[in-house]
Symmetry: C2
Subunit: 130 residues, 2 copies
DNA sequence: TTATGTGCAAAAGCTTTGCGTTCTA
DNA sequence: TAGAACGCAAAGCTTTTGCACATAA
């Protein structure tokens, strides 16, 4: 079978995602991880992201055409993308109630949902009102 | 200034998007448009999609890591992605009520929202129940 | 006519893969 | 010490750009 080893690279990448306030782009993960582990290669980042995704430890989120990654196991949540600074935040409240099995008009059986809100994050809303 | 001409290529691409039941991938647009206009080049498709997007006639939707395009002006709507056949449909009902200006816990000012539902489309729900 | 738009092919980005070396277990 | 994982560089894709020719106005 396939043995999966624990390496410094994997730990660092998992930690970077674990302490992020929201999903991160591959480039961001790469740069942050290099801060903890100079010499890290981008190929390792891609390989590790794929591995961790396969293991369910993290998962991809596509926003505005970019693929971001975030740690799993943070419960049901959604995202807020700031139209001003571009940062993406994790929201722990959910604006919809759609139990699995809900049947939508037209006969669409809902199993899951994804919501993204766009607007001004607290920082941007405070500094440039109006 | 910049004059924008009407060409057969642009008409065909706009028509393809206009009659689609949901957003399409660049490759799909390319193939469908070639059916109407053999010889069409992929570069023209990309250029036209960018042009139409800039004009607001169409807009990109990113789903499952892929960038799809759909015609604008179809009113407020969302998408349903079938977990079985992979097709994406347009839904004309909205499961959330978030007037622009709604302030979310944490101080996030909501200006817009995007919802994607995942599950079984009518065709797939009917043919393989359980 | 003229300069916008097109197709082709080269270039540019991003992601994956091959391979010799390093390091976990 | 065996083979999983790494870093580097080459290869693959998708998207963009350069250019000469075609075409809308």
């Amino acid at each position: 079978m396939t043995a999966t080893r624990s390496t410094r690279q994997r730990d660092v990448i998992a930690q970077v995602l674990g302490r992020a306030p929201g999903p991160l782009a591959v480039t961001e993960i790469f740069e942050l991880a290099q801060g903890d582990l100079p010499g890290l290669g981008i190929a390792t980042v891609y390989r590790t992201l794929k591995l961790l995704t396969g293991q369910g430890q993290i998962h991809p989120v596509t926003l505005d055409g970019e693929t971001l990654y975030e740690a799993s196991g943070k419960g049901h949540h959604h995202h807020f993308s700031c139209n001003h600074c571009g940062r993406v935040f994790t929201l722990h409240t959910c604006p919809v109630t759609l139990p699995s099995g809900t049947v939508y008009p037209g006969g669409f059986v809902v199993e899951a949902h994804e919501v993204t809100l766009y607007g001004q994050c607290p920082d941007c809303a405070g500094s440039q009102p109006g």
